[in-house]
Amino acid sequence: MKNFLELLDTKSDMKVSVKLQIHGYVEYRASINGIQFADATEVRLDLNSDINLVIHLDKFNKGSSGIEVTEFFINSLEVLPKYLHLARPSTNYIDEYGQWRFAIPAPFYSWYHEITGQGWLLKPT
């Protein structure tokens, strides 16, 4: 890339990849920004999109089954399991009824800057 004008002309997006591991008997619904998937997905989202990974557990055997989010990467940057404390509830092993969610407000890179402790983020005046 030679200059700023080329940057303006370049269309970039985010590659979001998720892998789930199913432990035992589970009925569930998983989605990224409303796009449903089974146990793995790779979607491309606009750079300025919010990102919402949502998993609903409908049926499972309490104490012996559940869903583990083994991978959640955005543009090759690890989100889970590294930042599982930011999930709600704060785990990457889901074995409770109801909704589990990992929400990232846009823009992703500003959020990533904050959570990785990169210091000041100046805003234009």
């Binding site: 890339m1 030679k2 200059n3 700023f4 370049t10 890179y109 500003s110 210091g119 805003k123 005046t125």
Partner: protein
């Protein structure tokens, strides 16, 4: 031409006023390439920032290399964190995710504005470097008259210069008041970095801090400065404690008596006591502390002692850059056979730091990343000493300077560095 390699966002939020009151576009720009720009006597700071820095901004947008940026390029080549990387990080951009991070940044709009307006900007500086003159009680051998009044007097006395630098801009009450009123009317200022001389004994330093407190602006402003470890002042500590954050740099070259030779005017025993006092204050007020050495040919042999001090105390170490001026004091003036023991020692010290994450630490002020930062800083010096060309042809120039200064100071480098006797003798010592 490469946009990713050359672009720096600094000219959209940072500027500098130098000792003479002239404006500069960057705190890292190398001295020999700095243009003589307008001064505070001629143009208001914000006008200069918005209209007169347009050329630098245009160069950044065009992806061209700005000559003053060569230090940053050199630092990145050796794996040392550059000023450009730091300034990119302040807008949320790292080199490895440059394109998507910049494209999704809130700074795209100001950049586009400049693209459409010949480099002009409607931004105002949020990050200032304020040079307060050369008032200093030390006369470090690697320093210059523009940064040390004591050295300036000595150089004039022994005939190296004909006259000492003029008074700093901030000694003019009218100019200082004009600058203060600009600061007070800039509500988005986040960071003020002060440079001396020895900042803490420069009257304008306290005047500016007090004026900001009187204007109730201290809550959002962070202050950065470096001390030469000859003075600790309780009143100043109290004033500084009112600000949002203090980033304290402490200058020391090594924990060895050669520090006294290089940082003439200091004494390693009292330096240790003053260092402890500053560290205690920093701990009390939760300030960020960094050791800020300037490794030279004179101190690089004992430079590993700095890391040995810093590692158990979880303090980061960071030189501004690889020394550029004076050229004959660069560590690379050492021939390779003299560098090897230093490389071995630094490598051994680095090996004592466990590797937790090998991602490059750009935010060197995140204390949780201090160990990684220390390791990467040591590694950058190992790389620099291993791979930078031999500049031992500069040894005679070094010896000539040392002899001149030692005649004035009645000391001898050999009392501090007997290891270099043969080397210095061959160069005319």
């Amino acid at each position: 031409m490469s946009f990713e390699k050359n672009f720096c966002p600094s000219p959209w939020y940072h500027m500098r006023i130098n000792n003479a009151g002239h404006y500069e576009y960057c705190r890292w720009a190398i001295k020999s390439e700095r243009r003589v720009e307008a001064s505070i006597r001629e143009v208001e700071p914000i006008v200069w920032f918005q209209k007169h820095m347009s050329g630098v901004r245009q160069a950044m947008l065009n992806g061209t290399t700005v000559p003053g940026c060569s230090d940053c390029i050199k630092m990145e080549q050796h794996g040392k964190v550059s000023g450009r990387q730091r300034q990119l990080l302040k807008i949320g951009v790292r080199k490895e995710s440059f394109v998507p991070a910049l494209q999704s940044s809130s700074w795209m709009s100001p950049l586009s504005y400049s693209q459409d307006n010949n480099g002009d900007t409607d931004q105002i500086p949020q990050d200032w470097q304020i040079d307060l003159g050369n008032y200093c009680n030390s006369a470090c051998l690697f320093c210059n008259p523009h940064s040390s009044s004591r050295l300036a007097t000595e150089w004039k006395r022994i005939g190296i210069i004909n006259s000492v630098p003029k008074s700093a801009w901030c000694e003019d009450p009218g100019l200082l008041e004009s600058f203060l009123s600009m600061l007070k009317s800039s509500p988005t200022i986040r960071y003020l970095h002060f440079i001396g001389g020895e900042t803490v004994i420069t009257p304008a330093f306290v005047k500016i801090l007090q004026a900001l407190v009187d204007a109730d602006l201290q809550h959002e402003i962070s202050i950065g400065f470096t001390v030469n470890l000859t003075i600790w002042d309780a009143d100043l500590i109290n004033l500084l404690s009112k600000f949002k954050l203090v980033q304290l740099g402490v200058s020391i070259e090594c924990f060895h008596p050669v520090n006294d030779y290089a940082r003439y005017g200091s004494n390693i025993t009292s330096v240790r006591q003053v260092l402890d006092a500053w560290l205690e204050s920093a701990e009390q007020y939760n300030w960020l502390v960094q050791i800020r050495p300037t490794p030279t040919i004179l101190t690089i042999l004992h430079y590993p002692t700095i890391y040995e001090f810093a590692i158990p105390r979880n303090i980061t170490v960071e030189s501004c850059n690889f020394l550029n001026d004076p050229t004959y004091m660069r560590p690379t003036v050492l021939p390779m056979e003299y560098r090897q023991p230093i490389i071995d020692k630094l490598t051994a010290v680095a090996a004592t730091i466990p590797v937790i994450d090998d991602t490059q630490v750009i935010n060197t002020r995140n204390q949780y990343l201090n160990a990684s930062q220390l390791r990467q800083d040591i590694t950058s010096y190992v790389d620099y000493l291993k791979n930078s060309p031999d500049e031992s042809y500069r040894l005679p120039e070094l010896v000539a300077y040392l002899k001149k200064m030692e005649a004035s100071r009645k000391n001898s480098v050999l009392d501090y560095l007997p290891e270099y006797e043969k080397l210095l003798r061959t160069a005319g010592y």
